[in-house]
Amino acid sequence: MMFFLEATIAGLLAGVMYSLVALGFVLIFKASGVFNFAQGVMALFAALTLVGLLQGTVPFVHTNNPDWALPAWLAIIITILVMILLAVLIERLILRHLVNQEHIILFMATLGLAYVLEGAGDLIWGSDVKVLDLGLPQGANDWLLDNYDLYVEKIEMVAAVTAVLLVTVLAIFFHKTRIGRALRAVADDHQAALSVGISLRTIWVIVWSVSGIVALVAGVMWGAKSGIQFSLSLIALKALPVLMLGGFTSIPGAIIGGLIIGVGEKWAEIYAGPYIGGAIENWFAYMLALIFLLFRPQGLFGEKIIERV
């Protein structure tokens, strides 16, 4: 029983990490109908920038200059500014020129963006594996281990709390503020949004900035767990099944989808694994996504395609 509980908690917490990545996708998809292939690389780029600033890495030279090392709070603020600048550049150089094009064309553009960002990350900060030390707690939670004999990673608990905070803030932003409403309006109907005087350019910069910041959070959490290196950008692939499960347009969907996949993976690995030779964890999520695509393509919480008869 204890083992089951432990697996479930580990699954839930891993799921939160998936959700963090999926969130960034949902934001951009909601506001511009674009599936942003570069989301994973954005997380990597954000994490690289943060680490670079923390360690005082000299850009393009890749040597560490301890005098340039910044305190954590300042590094985070500067990284956020970098992500906003990135959003502005993306709007200027890409989105602006592709207004009203097919979604697939925008998708291809983000594919290109992914490669550019990946290269830029390597070029500026170097390609070696970096350790992110933000002073986040490591190891197991002693209290749970001593009293209940449960092994729960502290970093994952921090990630869970962060995710809850992030989602609360985003939900309030989307539903209670003028800009948030405008974002949802743009998601529904570009043309109509333009006609009531919403500036698409502003909205796009805002939404890419927000998702850049979400990418930073995801990058930090994953980076603290497994080091910062190229493979970090592949977490985007893990977010895909989460999105199919939860729905591309739903923030709660991204969270719950992440949790289901996290837990499902662990259970499948532990209880079904031994019978078919293990390694279920690697493909379980995609299998689940496939089933969803067959029977409920909008996902659990995705917006239904409204068709009036």
């Binding site: 109907d189 043309q191 009531v196």
Partner: protein
């Protein structure tokens, strides 16, 4: 309208002919750099007036409205000649966003409500350009509900699920929330029952009188439009082929023939009509 009329702006004369709130001068619109859609359209909307822009499918009504509200760019269209003046200032290079701020807003054909937002959220979105004027926005929402009591009943419904008539009301109400001086209405009658069409036109008329909103109305429903407008322009193939007071247009034989259906006693067979049409083009 007659371009040769001198625009005397002295205050004494102005009482007689106030300067138009919107004046479009000989604009040409090209889509995709090759398709010429408007071939020199000119029109004036007097301050506080309702002007109808009439014509069949593909005549260029929507394009004219979009050229004014500057929604063309998003569709790869471009105004290549002519000028558009709103309240005396050239607006053809302004973004839709700036234009809405100045008080000129379009209600698009086919309603285009934000389907996944509630009716009330739709209205709030209309006030986007007004910034964070909460009190004013609140009282304007009540004003809109005053004109469209049905919207108040459906305030928490998603706009995608309300009826077509309600969506049209929602779209007009949303535009009202920007406190417009001028509204460009694109086919508000589309796909609605005659009774509803009448209701919408009736409300538009009241908005025009009570809120002082000038209206440029693009319509295929010529009969209805000419009952509410004071002045009308008829577009054909991207050109204004006829214009005049609404009453005059209603009596015009050609308008009756082509748009109001039948010109009295002797109905022509379809073949004759086509023939007649081909022989006698508009020559304005």
């Amino acid at each position: 309208m007659d371009q040769s009329v001198e625009k005397t702006e002295t205050s004494e004369v102005a009482a007689e002919t106030p300067p138009p709130i919107l004046s479009v001068n000989n604009i040409e619109v090209i889509y995709n750099h090759v398709i010429l859609v408007l071939k020199g359209v000119s029109l004036d909307v007097p301050k506080g007036g309702i002007v109808a822009l009439l014509g069949a499918n593909g005549a260029g009504k929507t394009t004219t409205l979009k050229a004014i509200s500057n929604l063309l760019n998003a569709e790869r269209g471009e105004v290549t000649k002519g000028s558009i003046n709103f309240e005396g200032a050239e607006v053809h290079a302004l973004s839709p966003n700036d234009l809405v701020k100045r008080g000129c807003i379009q209600v698009m054909e086919g309603r285009h409500c934000f389907e996944h937002l509630t009716v009330e959220e739709n209205l709030l979105t209309g006030a986007y350009t007004r910034g964070s004027d909460r009190k004013g926005v609140r009282s304007d929402i009540e004003m809109v509900y005053g004109y469209f009591p049905r919207l108040k009943e459906r305030r928490t419904s998603l706009a995608g699920y309300i009826s077509g008539g309600e969506q049209q009301m929602c779209a007009i109400g949303r535009a009202l929330m920007s406190r417009p001086k001028m509204m460009l209405l694109d086919e508000p009658s589309m796909g609605l029952a005659p009774q509803l069409v009448e209701e919408i036109f009736e409300i538009t008329k009241r908005l025009n009188e009570e809120q002082g909103v000038s209206v440029l109305l693009a319509e295929q429903n010529v009969n209805m439009a000419l009952r509410y407008a004071q002045f009308g322009y008829i577009l054909e193939n991207g050109r204004v082929v006829l214009d005049g007071e609404a009453a005059t247009l209603r009596e015009n034989e050609d308008v009756k023939e082509f748009y109001l259906g039948g010109s009295g006693g002797n109905r022509k067979s379809f073949r004759d009509v086509k023939h007649y049409k081909r022989r006698k083009r508009w020559l304005a």
